[in-house]
Amino acid sequence: MDSAPQGLTVEKIHVWRGDRHVLKGVSLALCPGELLQVAGPNGTGKTTLLRVACGLLRPEQGRVTWCGRPISGIRPQYQSALVYAAHEPALKGDLTPLENLRYLVGLKRSVTTAELEAALERTGVAACAQLPVRVLSAGQRRRVALARVLAMRSGLWMLDEPFTNLDASGSALVTDLLREHVSATGMALVVAHHDIALSGRLRRLELQ
């Protein structure tokens, strides 16, 4: 096996939002098969950290590397390899879940309707596949967003509060999906308040 560095590293990033020093020298490393949970009180910059790791936000200091290369040089390749699920489910209210997925996933890879339907089935919203998203509940929208994460088939998952608006079965679903992903040598960076029930491959990063 080659000795090339694998995975994501974030090295000593500093971010200021106006006057606030939101991230003060935060570092992390993520290898295939690992799940890193980012936790901490409100306002400590968890979402900001995720956005820096995705490459949406440029830090004042520090850098992010992917497979040993800084992401500023390999942005298209890096961003094709990840999927980001933010607080907002990123769904258009006037389109159906199937149409939403087709447009979002279709920008990255050619995908068939069957694959999308399978993803919606896996997350339990296959019944709503033909309804406009605006009639779905918040929990159902979250599940559609999860289906998008599945359908992207990316190696790196960046999830911001994936358990929001989900009931017990929904939370169990998220945990199962994470477990399957990580077992298949995927990586995940998850911002979450409650502890994820995954033994073994789970590490935590507390932000102050």
């Binding site: 200021w16 939002r17 106006g18 006057d19 440029r58």
Partner: protein
Amino acid sequence: MWTWFYRLASPPYVYRSAAALTPWFMTVAAIAIVCGLVGGLGWAPPDYQQGDAFRIIYVHVPSAYMSLFCYTTMAVAGAIGLIWRIKMAYALAAATAPVGASFTVLALITGSLWGKPMWGTYWAWDPRLTSELILLFLYAGVMSLRPAFEDPARGDRAAALLAIVGVVNVPIIHYSVLWWNSLHQGATIAKIGKPSMPASMLWPLLMMLLGFMCFYGAVVCMRLRGEVLNRERQSAWVREAIKS
């Protein structure tokens, strides 16, 4: 050579240099403007066509020139800030904007005052004045955009981008207004013609230009210090500087 460039990016350095440069700029500005005014108002002979009315060019032309110069400076500073992510460049752009806008207003007022003896009216949609007016609108756009953001860094970047887009459009706007004017104005309307310029008329103009340039330098240095203090108010060196 690059160390000089990067030193310019350091806020304490900019703060101290601006303080040191201000009196020099002010002195040169005062001398140049006085010489220019004396030369232009007293020495230069009256224009055979326009009489003494033409003397307003000694304020009008330098202001118009400075209004364009300031806009370009703002755009270049913005570009430097965006490309090399130097915060002091944004401070320079922010410091320059109102000064440039003031020069534009001055150019418009003096141009309008010149218009009265020339056309008999204070405003006649002359191509140059119309271009200046549109430039004022461009300034207004940039100056309104910056404070519209909650995060001042984002406001700086957006204003810088707008200034760059604007500066690319300035020649387009100027030529389109010229075209429009040639279309609609008959040959009967006299334009603010450049009087033929013997040396005795020209050198006061250049002196005034130099004076205005140095005045801009002095004012921008003063404003820049204020901008630097405001932007860096959280840092230690500012607290030291304020205490002393």
